[in-house]
């Protein structure tokens, strides 16, 4: 049975294990063409000449397209429209597309791409935040505000006055790197324009419904004539939220004379042209009272959005909103700037702006605790936000708030209690330490952009239950959970269930797979739809069994039972007597938002602030090798408040996955560029962790109940990513190694070891 709360296997597990699940990459329609883009290779410049004649003559080449072939606005984006489909005059990063080739084979495609002659006059490269903010910086987008796409301030209380009232005040500047999503399935899709002019596209996407509008606007197409199918993704993490191949592929299809076209970026192209997590610089001042009360935080956050906006402003807004941490903080002033550079384009990524500030606010908590001579966990506990209080951004927490409970449970964990003995037992040349972090992550779109979903469920003609999922499943398992929810309400086993993945013709607009919202919002809609279907089945059964009404019925596997008379009616029999339209139920849901005003919130038209937050407290036991600077994370523990757990296995997988990705962010992952040119060009030089680099990860659920959520849950897809970096940093700090720049590569840690005066290690210890 697909009951809620059961550790049932994923609905898609067998298909994936058997390799029968069709990802977008698996689709090779007959008579298909290949499309590929020529990338600028130069981070900043003026296009002087593009000569395609030689490329057009390559055997097997169908078309070579440039800017002049792009109808519509030629602008991609979905809040700011600033990214050309094909650059005409200006290139703003090395991965900009300047030409598009359609060919019969990959070989012809590669040859044609090499045969295009391109002359780009280089412009000075804006490769750092400082370079972008300099008075005489080249203006990348010609904004009146220079390279500052958006500057904003949010405030609670009076940070200046608050800091003056503090007994201890600490200051620090933190830096986080750009991070690559590194999903297994790189960006790809297939597209075709049919005889009636409809564009059909199957694409690895987190936002199939919104894609239609992005493609439509960029290419002057009618969105209602664009049909997008979104199969399971081989990973997304935010990197497929917003057009990747979509506009190029649609443009290619427009020149393919009805033939299908496939575009599939290889790893190098994905590294070059795909979106990244924003690199950030965060200047923090924080103060506390002698008794351990966190009192005031002032910060300046600069996010490097690279060449284009993508969701940079919204990402910065989330960073600002979370900059005071999951604490009851009376005074906060957060200033944010989202800055254009010629670096790779930054965009959405699991932990959306919050992963960055988590390092900073938790770093401040460690430093304040040290300055106060307080245990770092006690200090966090003392200030943890609880229900009914205003959070750091000024929003009253009216929903489940498990931060304190997560920290209490962590405090009782053996790894925390035994930390002194464990530390003292370090082998030669080794420093041992235990670090903690408290993190949170706003859920849903926030105010200004309705976070809605429309669910549909059908009793099929043969008496099966079919769920029409409208939100992409990129591996997080929401689709499987939807089946579980429907199974719970309709009391049906897996064998009776069917699942349709997002398809703009068959399923209904339900927002993107993002922001920890996928299960929450669609789930709420689905519960209503399933309840409506159930009630309908009872009423129709009443008709068939000549009883007064549907009140005496219960769902049983494969059918319904009339309890007073003990008579059963199979679903197939019910289906046979119902009109097809009658066998469908639909319902929708809107995530609630706060009606509270937040000072400075006016600066953001959408995405700010949030009302619902999952919370987590993490612990990392680490060893630092003094000879090499290598940091090994030996044990990891996560306590997560995601409300009620609907499937413990899916819950753990989300925690394990986000901790793994977060440890990569903490230790090795860094999109390196030099003067705007990518240096980590592949997975050999961009270093993600392997199974040997990851510790066993203990995941514990702290089950609060989220009354607004489906079966009491809230989304935990992101919060787990925010913990590892600050938890490892906290451990390093207690080992006398205060780190302000992530990742903690062996080089940086060795330098910190050399800086560390003998003795300070134990002093800084808790």
């Amino acid at each position: 049975m697909q009951d809620i709360g059961r550790r049932s296997r994923r609905f898609d597990a067998l298909d994936k294990a058997r390799g029968t699940e069709q990802f977008a990459t698996d689709i090779y329609p007959p008579d298909m063409l290949w499309a590929g883009a020529l990338r600028a290779g130069v981070p900043h410049g003026i296009i002087r000449r593009i000569e395609t004649a030689r490329a057009e003559k390559v055997e097997g080449v169908v078309a070579v397209l440039t800017r002049k072939d792009v109808p519509g606005t030629n602008r991609q984006g979905f809040v700011y429209w600033d990214m050309p489909v094909l650059c005409g005059t200006r290139v703003r990063h090395a991965g900009d597309a300047v030409a598009l080739v359609l060919a019969e084979s990959r070989r012809a495609l590669a040859e044609a791409l090499r045969a295009i002659e391109m002359e780009i006059e280089p412009l000075p490269v804006v490769d750092t935040l400082d370079a972008a903010l300099a008075d005489d910086a080249p203006n990348i987008h010609g904004l009146d505000t220079g390279n500052v796409l958006k500057a904003a301030t949010i405030a609670k209380g009076d940070a200046e006055a608050g800091l003056a009232e503090c007994d201890v005040v600490v200051e620090e500047t933190f830096y986080t790197p750009a991070q690559e999503h590194a999903f297994i399935e790189t960006e790809n899709g297939v597209a075709r324009i049919d005889d009636d002019g409809t564009l059909h596209m199957t694409v690895s996407t987190q936002a199939p419904f919104r894609d239609r509008f992005e493609i439509g606007r960029a290419l002057g197409l009618d969105p209602s004539r664009i049909h997008v199918t979104g199969p399971y993704l081989g990973g997304g993490f935010g990197g497929k939220d917003g057009a990747t191949v979509q506009c190029l592929l649609a443009l290619a299809a427009m020149h393919a004379k009805g033939r299908p076209v496939k575009m599939w970026w290889n790893r190098e192209e994905s590294m070059l042209a795909g979106y990244k997590r924003h690199a950030a610089r965060m200047r923090f001042t924080a103060g506390a009272k002698r008794d351990g009360t966190l009192h005031a935080v002032r910060c300046e956050l600069d996010y490097d959005t690279g060449a284009y906006a993508h969701l940079g402003v919204e990402i910065m807004a989330l960073g600002m909103e979370h900059s005071g941490g999951p604490y009851r903080l009376p005074h906060l002033e957060a200033k944010g700037r989202c800055v254009y550079t010629n670096n790779p384009v930054a965009g959405a990524f699991r932990g959306f702006g919050v992963a960055q500030v988590s390092f900073a606010f938790e770093g401040m908590m460690d430093r304040l605790a040290h300055a106060l001579g307080m245990d770092p966990l006690k200090f966090r506990l003392r200030n943890a936000i609880t229900r009914g209080e205003r959070n750091c951004a000024g929003v009253t927490m009216t929903t489940s708030t498990g931060m304190e409970e997560c920290l209490l449970r962590l405090r009782d964990h053996p790894h925390w209690k035994s930390r002194e003995a464990w530390r003292a037992d370090a082998p030669p040349f080794t420093r041992r330490a235990v670090g903690v972090a408290a993190v949170f992550n706003g859920m849903g779109y926030g105010r200004g952009l309705a976070d809605y979903a429309v669910a549909k469920v059908r009793l099929t003609g043969s008496g099966r239950i079919r769920v029409y999922n409208g939100v992409s499943d990129m591996g997080q398992g929401n689709a499987s959970t939807f089946v579980q929810m429907a199974g719970e309400i309709l009391c049906q086993p897996e064998s009776v269930m069917e699942l349709v993945q997002p398809d703009t013709d068959r399923t209904h607009p339900s927002g993107s797979a993002a922001a920890g919202r996928t299960t929450y919002t669609y789930g709420k809609a689905l519960i209503k739809a399933c309840e409506t279907l159930r009630d309908k089945l009872f009423n129709r059964a009443a008709l068939m069994l000549f009883v007064d009404d549907g009140s005496g019925f219960a769902m049983i596997p494969g059918g319904v039972r009339h309890l007073p008379t003990g008579r059963d009616l199979p679903l197939a029999a019910l289906a046979a007597m119902m009109h097809p339209d009658d066998r469908i139920s639909m319902a929708e849901h809107l995530m609630p938002v706060t009606p509270e005003p937040v000072r400075g919130g006016e600066a953001f038209t959408l995405g700010f602030p949030h009302l619902l937050f999952p919370y987590a407290a993490h612990l990392a036991r680490i060893e630092v090798d003094e000879l090499t600077g290598r940091v090994a994370v030996l044990d990891y523990v996560a306590f997560t408040d995601g409300g009620r757990v609907l499937n413990p296995q899916n819950f753990e997988q989300q925690v394990h996955g986000s901790v793994a990705q977060g440890l990569g962010y903490a230790l090795t992952e860094d999109v390196l560029t030099e003067a705007g040119v990518l240096r980590s060009t592949d997975l050999c030089t961009y270093v993600i962790p392997t199974s040997l680099d990851l510790p066993d990860i203990e995941s514990h659920a702290v089950e609060t109940i989220e009354h607004t959520g489906p079966f009491g849950m809230k989304g935990i897809g992101e919060v787990g990513l925010n913990g590892p970096l600050p938890a490892v940093a906290s451990a390093l700090y207690s080992a006398g190694l205060p780190m302000t720049r992530a990742p903690f590569t062996f080089g940086r840690v060795l330098a910190a070891l050399e800086d560390d005066q003998p003795g300070t290690g134990s002093e800084a210890a808790s």
Partner: protein
């Protein structure tokens, strides 16, 4: 793209003699990566995977004592699974276990590792400290070269165009009591060495009778440091002696900065790694 799959050595040598443009492919884990990066399709390839005699690992007696002969096409997995290698050449076994990950180890060969001649090649330092020699063959005849004479620079070897590396002969180290290998990479698998240290020490009554040291990834080829070896010879495994040897080692290496690490880091750590050999309470030296 002609592809030849010879099944014995003489056929291989004939193919190489008749097709001067041909490239030898063993596991392809270097060759194919390089061809793809260059955007080239391979020309003529002579593959070694079916030449059984090139895949053998055998113990032998030579005039100078026991040795192990490893066929050039033995894979890294073959090395790991070989009892002979594990028992007699523990350093090579350690290097093999730190090599890439199982899938790559199943394809990658020791011959390919030697012929790629990368300063980061994981089997090379062990072969150097154990005074291994390589066997080369062509239709013109066979010859044997000591490792340092074969690998002449980064990516450069003494291999002639018509020659194939048939095997490597490794004298079994006898007097040595400590076999130490440490690879510093950016992660624990699928990592290119940023620095590595391979050390063999003969310790008798607490004193070092002989020491052989080799570093990977800190110079154009494997770096030896006779000065550091001399410092250790005759002394005990103390931090003082090792620190002095480390200083000599840092002078001997010639590292570069790249996307993985700075030259300074490599130099520093090349020395630091020696300290791991210290005889300290609570741990076995070299473990």
């Amino acid at each position: 793209m002609p592809l030849f799959l010879p099944t014995d050595l003489s056929e291989t040598l004939a193919l190489l003699a008749d097709h001067p443009e041909a490239r030898i492919m063993a596991g392809g884990t270097d060759l194919l990566v390089r061809l793809r990066a260059a955007g080239r399709t391979p020309g003529t390839l002579v593959c070694l995977e079916r030449v059984a005699e090139l895949g053998r690992i055998e113990a032998l007696e030579t005039a100078t004592g026991p040795a192990v002969r490893i066929g050039a096409a033995a894979t890294i997995t073959d090395l790991l699974r070989s009892d002979t290698v594990r028992q007699r050449l523990p350093l090579l076994h350690r290097a093999a276990s730190a090599f890439a990950a199982p899938t790559v180890r199943n394809a990658a060969t020791i011959g390919g590792n030697i012929c790629t001649a990368s300063p980061a090649a994981d089997t090379l330092p062990a072969l150097h400290v154990m005074n291994a020699s390589v066997e080369l063959a062509s239709r013109r005849g066979a010859r044997i070269l000591p490792m340092p004479h074969f690998v002449t620079g980064p990516g450069r070897t003494a291999l002639e165009p018509d020659e194939v590396l048939t095997g490597v002969v490794v004298p079994v180290p006898r007097i040595f009591t400590i076999h130490h290998f440490e690879k510093v990479g950016q992660r624990q698998a699928m990592a290119i060495a940023v620095v590595s240290l391979t050390a063999m020490l003969a310790v008798e009554d607490g004193r070092i009778r002989d020491a052989r040291l080799a570093w990977g990834s800190v110079g154009p080829t494997i770096v030896r440091c006779p000065e550091a070896e001399a410092i250790l010879r005759g002394s005990r495994l103390t931090l003082t002696a090792l620190t002095e040897a480390a200083r000599a080692a840092r002078r001997a290496v010639a590292p570069i900065s790249d996307v993985r690490a700075t030259a300074d880091y490599r130099r520093q750590v090349a020395g630091n790694l020696l300290l791991r050999l210290a005889d300290l309470p609570g741990r076995k030296p070299g473990s």
